[in-house]
């Protein structure tokens, strides 16, 4: 093997498509590669392009979007019609040195779900197979990455339901954000860099969802973090912005301790592999130590808490609003924050068995999720910045996803991720549209009555809000309902649920109530009443409104993709109907996915949830649209709250309010206590020890030996020393005037002394031992 072959082997080669797997599914690596290339292109040549590099970014993401659509289509076909080999031990057409992996590489046939459905995992490596099965198979393509401990580790793409749907979500949102941004950040001081990082952000997230092993996931996970750092701190001239960027990065790094530790545990427990499929299978087949799985799940949950903004590591997320609004939309809807949720979904067996989800009524994951739902939602009530309302709303909604995963409602979580991406992106972009027009994000100071000025923005914002609040029949209704059903709590819809999570159901219902209420407040403050800002606002341009319209269409209609069985036409077993189309599309039915059960929807629960979801908004409506509005008309001012409301009159309410305004004092704890202590006293103490203890020992030793050396010198043979000095004279005389000022001779003396001493010591040592 020469250098050239080494380099070639080290670089991922194009994969070879075989069998009846569509070419595209074997080459999905193209999708993240396009925006990655456009990142480099924009970075180095963007400023010379007529549109400052935006055109390259849009072209790349647009192409990625088209490929994502095509791969979704190809996946649908593959999912339903694949008739490849079922025997996983079949011929492997891998490269020469894959011998030791061939049999463990990919999948075995197993029977799951009690439905006698033959499923297996295959890859393009399998060139020819035996009997045809009808089940879906993930498409795995891998290349050698590096060798360690005599084992070749690989890099590749794992394409299955969850990854292919994420390709669609990420590219769709990213493309819309790109288009929107050309107007929104037009004339910005770093327009080109902005688009470069949008490209990298998209590429990292796409690479993340396609990762075939956890090491690759770590890489992409951190790259996503890097992009968020760069984009949150986009206007880094102002310190608050760079502070927010640092906070995001550092908080995520704290969670990353869990990520690294968890992944390492998985690596060793699964027998030395990073492979997602291998790890999942090892957990499912009970080949892993249960304690190890639990520890891995707990560690990874820490990573999810920081990345996906779960209580108590969510504090960076609202601050991340310091970045440009389209970035917030991208971060909060499709990329950064869902990375954590996606990781749970990806390594679901680890969490499913690690937290003992089936048959339980409470577990760590579900608890964190449900706490986040409520506590995040409460914080949204006291915000005056419209983006912060939405940020806390994201926290709360991410809580739903984690809750769903925690109770075993895997499909519901992914579905909610999917629908949430659209309405939350719509809301963020809508708030940006308003802010673009009034040059502020402050609802109380600078907004109000915006519906008159910005009808399109108003309508789309309304639709997305309704979807967020989960009102029938918008997308949010269906996905939220599935989550609530999935809890199997209180005997409602407990049929075939994975456990009986009573608390989670209650928290979920409370969350639904809160969601509607804070959005009602937000809408009133922004769009109703009289305008409180300056100047004359106007509707935004086409490049802003068109993405809004597209997103609101999705927000209204996306729920139809996963109607519960028994709703509209067809029967539950029909794969062609609308029912559970999404679940069928995304949920892996393969050896690396646990045999979760699917709860049966309950009409009763849907009605209760809807009523609960309307009570919240009704109260808020009564307060804002009736009381505040009437008072405003009486006084002739555009009020934002009642002057003699509960907070003003009731001490307990005032305390609660202050508690919320201070965000549960978590920021104080982190910034003023922990960070301040490490940066201040602890670091200073360490440095003091360095200077006054460790260094003092060295200096004292040095001074003592110099004295001792001088004393010894007088008694040591001068000839030896002089010889050494003369020998080095040639060098020192050539080394310029500066050298002569130094006592070079002295150094030589020390050297000679030490060497002599060393020999003597060695002699003593040998005699003694």
């Amino acid at each position: 093997m020469s250098l050239l072959t080494l380099a070639v082997e080290a670089v991922p080669k194009e994969s070879f498509a075989t069998g009846d797997v569509s070419w595209l599914l074997n080459n999905v690596w193209l999708i993240p590669t396009l925006p990655a290339l456009s990142f480099l292109g924009i970075l180095f040549f963007g400023k010379r392009m007529p549109k400052g590099g935006a055109e390259l970014g849009i072209a790349a993401v647009g192409a990625a979007f088209l490929l994502a659509i095509l791969s979704n289509v190809a996946w649908m076909d593959h999912r339903d019609n694949y008739s490849g080999p079922t025997d996983a031990g079949a011929a492997h057409a891998e490269d020469d040195h894959g011998d030791e992996h061939s049999e463990d590489a990919l999948g075995a046939s197993v029977v799951i779900d009690g439905q006698s459905e033959q499923v297996e995992l295959t890859s393009s490596f399998v060139e020819e197979g035996g009997e045809g099965g009808h089940a879906a198979v993930a498409v795995l393509n891998e290349r050698d990455w590096f060798r360690n401990g005599g084992v070749d580790f690989k890099v590749g793409t794992l394409l299955d339901g969850p990854s292919v749907i994420m390709l669609f979500v990420v590219t769709t949102i990213s493309l819309l954000v790109h288009i929107y941004s050309t107007d929104y950040v037009a004339g910005d001081r770093r327009y080109t860099h902005y688009f470069a990082f949008l490209s990298l952000f998209t590429a990292s997230m796409l690479g993340y969802v396609l990762s075939s092993n956890i090491l690759q996931m770590i890489v992409a996970w951190e790259l996503v973090g890097l992009c968020s750092f760069a984009l949150i701190g986009h206007w880094w001239e102002e310190k608050p912005n760079s502070d927010a960027a640092l906070k995001a990065f550092l908080t995520n790094r704290v969670g990353d301790i869990g990520l690294l530790v968890g992944m390492i545990i998985l690596f060793f427990s699964a027998g030395g592999t990073f492979d997602i499929v291998e790890i999942n299978k090892a957990v499912i087949n009970n080949e892993m130590n249960q304690t190890a799985v639990t520890w891995a799940a707990i560690s990874l949950t820490a990573a999810v808490m920081s990345k996906s903004g779960q209580f108590v590591l969510h504090t960076w997320l609202p601050d991340a609003m310091a970045g440009p609004t389209p970035v917030s939309a991208l971060i909060h809807a499709a990329t950064l924050v869902v990375a954590g949720v996606f990781m749970i979904a990806r390594l679901y067996p680890v969490f499913y068995y690690g937290f003992s989800i089936p048959g339980s009524s409470i577990n760590g994951l579900a608890l964190i999720g449900s706490i986040t739902v409520v506590f995040g939602g409460l914080l949204a009530f006291v915000q005056t910045d419209i983006k912060r309302v939405l940020a806390y709303s994201t926290v709360s909604q991410l809580g739903y996803m984690v809750l769903a995963l925690g109770v075993g409602a895997w499909t519901a979580a992914i579905f909610h991720l999917f629908t949430h991406a659209f309405f939350k992106a719509g809301l963020f972009l809508g708030s940006g549209s308003v802010a673009h027009s009034v040059h502020s994000f402050d609802m109380k100071q600078d907004m109000g009555g915006m519906r008159k000025f910005m009808p399109t923005t108003f309508k789309t914002f309304m639709i997305c809000s309704i979807a967020l609040a989960g009102v029938f029949p918008t997308a949010g209704f269906w996905s939220k309902d599935e989550i609530l059903v999935g809890t199997g709590g209180l005997g409602v819809g407990a049929e075939k649920a994975n456990g009986n999570y009573h608390l989670m159901l209650i928290m979920g219902l409370v969350g639904a109530m809160l969601t509607g209420a804070y959005m009602t407040r937000c809408i009133y403050l922004t769009f109703f009443g009289e305008f409180r800002g300056h100047g004359t606002p106007h509707e935004s341009g086409k490049r802003i409104t068109v993405p809004l319209i597209i997103l609101s269409v999705f927000a209204a209609g996306a729920g139809l993709l996963n109607l519960p069985p028994g709703f509209l036409a067809g029967s539950a077993s029909s794969p062609t109907g609308w029912q559970e189309r999404f679940g069928h599309f995304v949920e892996p039915s393969a050896a690396y996915f646990p045999a979760i059960s699917h709860s049966v929807p309950s009409w009763w629960l849907a009605v209760v949830a809807s009523v609960m979801g309307l009570i919240g908004p009704a109260i808020a409506y009564w307060y804002y649209f009736i009381k505040v509005d009437n008072l405003s008309k009486e006084t002739g001012e555009s009020l934002t709250e009642l002057p003699n409301g509960l907070v003003a009159n009731n001490k307990l309410a005032a305390t609660g309010h202050a508690f919320l305004v201070n965000k549960y004092y978590l920021d104080h704890l982190y910034n003023d206590v922990i960070v301040a202590a490490v940066k201040g006293p602890i670091a200073k103490a360490a440095y003091w020890i360095n200077q006054n203890v460790l260094d003092e020992v060295v200096d004292t030793a040095g001074r003592t030996s110099v004295k001792a050396g001088e004393a010894v010198y007088k008694h040591v043979d001068q000839g030896l020393i002089e010889g050494a000095v003369n020998g080095s004279g040639i060098l020192s005389s050539q080394s310029g005037q500066g050298l002569r000022k130094l006592q070079t001779g002295k150094v030589q003396q020390y050297a000679a002394l030490l060497f002599a001493g060393a020999t003597i010591l060695a002699g003593i040592f040998i005699v003694l031992i």
Partner: protein, 548 residues
Amino acid sequence: MEFFREWGLTAAIFLPLVGVLVMMFIDKKDEAMHKVIALGTSLAIFGIGIVLLFDFDYDRAGEMQWTKQVDWINIIKAEYLIGIDGMSLPLLMLTFLITPLVIIYSWNHFPAPHNPKAFLMLILVLHTGMIGTFVARDLVLFFVFFEVVLLPMFFMIAVWGGEDRKYASLKFFLYTLFGSALMLVSFLALFFLAGGETFSIAGLADAVAAASEDEFSRNAQLWIFGGMLLGFGIKVPMFPFHTWLPDAHTQAPTQGSVILAAVLLKLGTYGFVRIAIPILPEAAVVWAPWIGLLAVIGIIYGALGCLAQTDMKRLIAFSSVAHMGYVMLGIATLTDWGINAAVFGMVAHGLITGMLFFVAGSIKERYHTLEIKRLGGLLLQAPRMGWILGFISMASLGLPGLAGFWGEFPAILAAYNPANGLPVGLFRAYMVIAALGTVLAAGYLLWLLQRTAFGTPSEEFVDNPEITDTHREEWLAWTPLLVLILLFGLVPGLIFNVTDPAVEAQLSDCLSVDAGSDKANFDVGLCEKEGVEAALANLGVVSTADGE
């Protein structure tokens, strides 16, 4: 080609001295000539490196190649014995690369008191010492080259250094010399106890393995390893022997700092993986928990030291303590993952910290200060340099996709499952502490970035015409480093695939290397090769003998 294989490395070692000899006879005033000769020499050596890269047989990366043996000092059985394998190749190439880049960077920017002739001669002498250390396979030869680097670096700091240069240079010199003395004691004791037959590393390893308890007691091995630990540990530098480093770095001229960080520190870690562990594996197992302890203390302590700094260069120096902690942690695990990570970490640290010192030097040249609170807004005044600083800060904090990650993460990973005979629980605790260190690393580097690159320039520097963006020599010197940081980050196989066979060959005899479950750890006794292989085969981790 055969001739080249035989003499190429020798040529690389002694070419710099030839250059020095020529420069001696050229007048000091003829600066251009000196520069051309120095650069030409270092590039010629780099050329040899390129040939070596292409000629190296990567399938046999575990064996010594381009070897040469000549009798040298017969009376003490010392030989001129050189050669390279996959473990030394990356470090040797790093050395080949760094020196010409340093000369290019210096081109028009020699530090006061100028005198390019002497400065360049010192760099070339250093070059000989560094190359020699990485190719020597005889302990005496190794020791000679190891010491050769001391004097030029001493003069470089003492003459071209900062205000406190005299103290710093003497401290550097004496401290490392002290370590060297102990190392020499160890080498000599090893030689005599192993029968006094040879100083060759491989020969000694065999002799130690073959020696009975009476001939070479376990206790003696422990003491000898301890001596090497001090000698190499001071050079690394490991906590608590690191205090010479911040002073040396802060006072050294930019070029000195770069060479010091990029290559000199690696001589110590290289000594561990090339000499101490292969020759005395049993002693290594006993010492490893202590090395690991010092390593993780170094990680946290170095990071805290960084947070307390007000001077950018001193901060970077302390970050070296933390980063070398990861390297030492990898070594302490005594696993192939750990030692591969260590070698990767050495190269990555060389590239990244070398770059950090380059940038710090360039900032100092423009602002005439490295006081962090006076800086700020670098991205506005010198945007390209600001970007470079951001890029290498990210690399330094171990961002995946850049080189630093592959030295850090695998070392942390290896600590989860250390070699046979090492306390697993303890190393897992080290793992968590080391992971915590990554947060602190992000903290001090990002705060550095925030305070120097972000924000707006302070009043005193706003319209300072001296503050210009990256100039030509800087681009020439930096581009290769930046490209390699990215390349190694994306394609870690470029280094791992080369080092792995060598690490296996060095360690497989005595140290188990299991990527499997905990089971393997205690079932298998130390140095029972068959047992280890059987255990590994059971786990299906490595191919069994017939696959070899």
